[in-house]
Symmetry: C2
Subunit: 347 residues, 2 copies
């Protein structure tokens, strides 16, 4: 992203970059979402792609061997694919060793850890290279202080998981930067961390340190600087609400944007749990968020209309805006609605 990183005073470590994206032996585009997300949102960090024999999926980046990528300045190979089990496939190992031998670190956000793979570990140690599992939180997180910090913060919150909180935050951060505003996207999940080049996997933090991790992620910054924070889970989620509340309290947002997918009626994977409505979601986030930032407000609503055609999407955005009295936009559909949402965030 093209945002100013000079203001970044966070203690959160930056990932080595630029990246060579690794596509494994993937033949299904759906398994390469991380690579596509990186290409779309962090294109300037991606100098090429590499894959094993048998791969048919491409991110349409220059194809470079690890050695060529290193010569062009790459510092890390990023595993940009998943497979069904979220594991490191045996067929990838020769390519990963090649990367280490070529002088690249390896970064992964999968369930199974690079650091639990003895062969990779021994090669990395011998070559002085790093294996970075972005799902592993930093070790030096403090208990939250609750202290008010300088600078501005926006948090995307949701009626559920997996409906656009990351993309909404990315689009808003990019729109802020386009208007010349000093802004950082703050990542809280593995894909976001790869895109931002830093962040904290909030779901992997020990519960006592959850709000403290959010404070660490969004430190003091200049008065006009914005942290645009990727939300996690939902306060209404029967498993993850604690993650959402720790993130809300610790990030002390001045502004929330509520994310929702029209047509979703129940919590994903929890058919006994109806989705809360948007008004209820706004109300509960403001009530709980007020505890650490009494000035919190809701700037508007982000709807994921990827399942609708343009006409139907526009009608829905307009209706929902009238109903709620707030700006309503789909950040993936640029236009006047989205600019109004940005205006309201910055108002």
């Amino acid at each position: 992203m093209s945002m100013n990183r000079a203001v970044d005073s966070s203690d959160v470590e930056m990932l080595p970059q630029p990246y060579l994206l690794f596509l494994g032996d993937t033949t299904e585009r759906g398994y390469a979402k991380t690579a596509f997300g990186l290409r779309d949102w962090a294109g300037e960090r991606c100098i090429g792609e590499w894959s094993c024999a048998g791969a048919t999926v491409s991110a349409d980046l220059p194809r470079l061997t690890p050695r060529e990528a290193r010569a062009r300045g790459a510092r890390a190979l990023v595993i940009g694919v998943a497979n069904a089990g979220g594991v490191i496939s045996d067929s990838w190992i020769p390519s990963l060793i090649d990367a280490l031998e070529s002088g690249l670190d390896i970064i992964a956000g999968m369930h199974s850890k690079l650091n639990d793979t003895p062969l990779l570990k021994s090669v990395a140690e011998r070559r002085g290279r790093r294996l970075i599992d972005v799902r592993t939180p930093p070790r030096n997180i403090s208990i939250a202080s609750g202290r008010k910090r300088s600078g501005k913060r926006l948090l995307t919150v949701g009626t559920d998981c997996a409906l656009g909180k990351k993309y909404s935050a990315l689009a808003l951060a990019r729109a802020f930067a386009k208007r010349g505003i000093d802004a950082d996207f703050r990542a809280t999940g593995q894909t976001g961390i790869l895109i931002a080049g830093s962040g904290i996997p909030m779901d992997a933090v020990v519960a006592d340190f959850e709000a403290g991790a959010a404070e660490m992620l969004t430190p003091d910054s200049p008065p006009n600087h914005w942290d645009v924070i990727e939300g996690q889970g939902s306060l209404f989620h029967p498993a993850y609400a604690g993650v959402s509340l720790g993130l809300l309290h610790g990030s002390q947002p001045d502004v929330i944007v509520v994310c929702h997918e029209p047509g979703r009626t129940h919590i994903l994977g929890y058919p006994d749990y109806p989705l809360p409505d948007i008004a209820e979601t706004i109300d509960l986030n403001l009530r709980l968020g007020r505890r650490t930032n009494p000035a919190i407000r809701c700037a508007g609503i982000s709807l994921n209309t990827s399942g609708l055609d343009t006409g139907a999407a526009c009608r829905l955005l307009a209706e929902e805006s009238v109903r709620s009295g707030l700006p309503v936009a789909d950040p993936m559909r640029a236009g006047a609605e989205f600019e109004r949402l940005v205006d309201a965030c910055l108002a």
Copy 2:
């Protein structure tokens, strides 16, 4: 505690018992709170005490060497003291090795881990004994399912940390048992776990698994069985609210009892955070708790009046009961008020 353990179908592991309490080289009674708590609430699990040269504090239990304790049936030595740093003092090591050599496991709930002490680890391995750090959560916690479970559950919740949630739950569980009701105290912190002989340290669980840990701690049970669950933190705490919400959602309480210390005006250690009032605490816990148990209700209020004389305490309990319209008692002061609170829990 004298509660029926036959119904315990929890997957949570039981600690080896009975215990020999270890008092270290303590000369300050304040550092021996865990030992006193164990004596008062789990007397039948404690067959004696042991200490190093220099100790002046006693829990008034028979003084037994580890060998004598083992001969009388003890299965573990419990470190019942803390020192300023929460570490394992060098001067304790000979006694701890003596315990392992005598055939006892060692249990501790301190910040520093038995299993991080190489000398103890090697002796324990050689003797086939266990070093149990009760602050380490089990490895097999699942993501919460949100599924309604059989049996009844009570959770103590609070306006803040450290004001009586554990003692209130212990007193209520004991009172339920006295009335012939099948009940288990469910421990969520290290001292509670030592008292109960099992439990999960909720503050040490990875955030994503917080509600799942609470589900694991309070599994399906017979329809008339009660789990009486030790609360943690407060929904209003700027650092720990996520822990409290995960515990509330996962434990799906039918009944909450709100714990408060009269005169406390701010969150402990957070002078910028005023304490919420009791009515607000009830309202927010019921609103959030309803998500996983729509039938949740507040049975009453538990006040920690340890700082007041008997007359002042009685007046305060009566006033607060009139004000709130709920039973209000100090569980440490047995009497008609407490019996009314128990009635209301079971109603």
